[in-house]
Symmetry: C2
Subunit: 262 residues, 2 copies
DNA sequence: TTGTATTGTGTTATTTTGACACAATAATTT
DNA sequence: AAATTATTGTGTCAAAATAACACAATACAA
């Protein structure tokens, strides 16, 4: 049993009274790298399974702020696009019984700390948020409870605890249907990018190939892209333009939705 | 002080232990009548303001089931289309302080019942659902806590408690942006209806007029409408066709969204 | 019989979509 | 230098969708 963990449990015991019972938040933090959508997961100590970063809500904290707090603690970034997408309230949620053996054993060891044990063993309703973040700007750090914190490709996910797989699936589904109202380009790509980067991103989200020519023409017609020069990659072919977003036009367009069939 | 209310408070006290703390549900129950969108509101006893029908979640109840329970109790109908749209978790939510004078006084009277008083005075996170219902099939009944339960046109709303106006606005906004994925026709209109009924419904939701001819042609092209004969209204003009929905085709279409610009 | 309001459908210009074509170009190879 | 290669920016063109308006059909009233 680690000393860190001992300390954490003791200090957590004092926090409990300041928390809202039955309520938690979870974040599906998405990034885009190497032409793949990735999600930030963490692996708890003594556990095989992975989990979405989540946390509890303070008595005097807005639900959205709780999600922000989790997000910042986990990625070290503020100013990330964050949006609530669903609240999960099934009966099977939470409760120690559903956790895997290692973690369960760990908690059983602390059964003498009734307050903490009782808290963790509660049923929680969790409000899930998705966050869109530039992977290159994040510095994932595992906290005291976790042994690892990593970006995982959504095409090859590890086993997740509880209903976290369901939550992730729903996040991706909502991402797709709300695509016309979400700043995925601005949030997931670096400052400058090529049209191919943007196309690959949309293909990753939609899960199907798009026609290059038509995609390019439509994107340009939206008027949200600004050319920034060319990318001399060193490859033996024509150099593509670099683009950045015109934030103002982008914002305005998103509010009305960009009525756009890919 | 009514006897009913006394009884209710006593029995509610016994229920409290079976409820999930900090969590509630609210329903935005929408209907369509006289070419207007309407919402089912109730007015609490001793209060001027109106409220969305809501309730608490039982320890052993799915969040969605709690919403269903509220809905059925209020409208007397099951099999209503119900969808979660947002969870509201601002700091100003709930707490007696925010209620109006009459209701506040009523609750102060029951201060001696500590358990009930403390419960009602808590901060609640509320998950909001919208429901789509055929007004002609509902029989709104005020419960013990309410003096009235009525359909109100969304164009002339009374004053609402707490953040219920915000919740309602968000419901209508989400209704609009998700229109291509929602069975508003099937849920809000009677079994048989005219093309004009359907058009007026879409106009009410979108808040703008639509071209009659184009609307008709597009709707027919979707293949979800079945002609059922003509409506001889007695008016001195051509009799319109009556339509009903082909449920199977409708369901299938909704899953993919009907990529439709009105 | 004529008039009226509303309906079902038609017409036409314009825009959008989808599938594919082709010349331009940065670096490599000959 | 010249040819080669992979990828890019843009063009073409038929098919479909959209928007605005037109017109004859019709159920009933006058």
């Amino acid at each position: 049993m680690s000393e860190d963990l001992e300390k954490f449990i003791t200090s957590f015991e004092m926090e409990i009274d300041g928390l809202l019972p039955s309520v938690s938040v979870d974040c599906v933090i998405l990034g885009f790298e190497a032409q793949e959508l990735k999600v930030l997961l963490l692996q708890w100590k003594n556990s095989e399974k992975w989990a979405l970063p989540g946390g509890f809500v303070k008595q005097n904290e807005h639900l959205d702020d709780a999600a922000l707090r989790v997000l910042e603690k986990r990625t070290g970034l503020s100013n990330i696009f964050l949006k609530q997408f669903h609240t999960f309230g099934s009966l099977e949620r939470s409760t120690i019984k559903k956790l895997d053996k290692g973690l369960k054993a760990l908690l059983e060891l602390h059964k003498q700390n009734e307050k903490v044990y009782e808290w963790v063993n509660r049923r929680f309703i969790t409000t899930a948020y998705f966050a869109l973040s530039d992977i290159r700007k994040t510095h994932p750090v595992p906290d005291v409870l976790s042994q690892r914190c990593e970006w995982k490709s959504i095409t090859s996910l590890p086993e997740l605890i509880l209903d976290h797989h369901t939550i992730l699936e729903k996040a991706l589904d909502d991402l797709r249907t709300q695509l016309n109202y979400l700043p995925i380009g601005q949030s997931l790509l670096p400052e400058k990018f090529t049209m191919q980067d943007l196309k690959k991103l949309y293909e990753a989200v939609l899960g199907r190939p798009l026609d290059r020519g038509n995609f390019q023409r439509k994107m340009l017609r939206l008027g949200i892209l600004v050319r920034q020069g060319k990318l001399m990659s060193g490859a033996s072919n024509k150099a593509p333009f670099l683009y950045s977003f015109d934030r103002k036009v982008y914002q305005k367009l998103l509010r009305e939705g960009m009525g756009f069939s890919y």
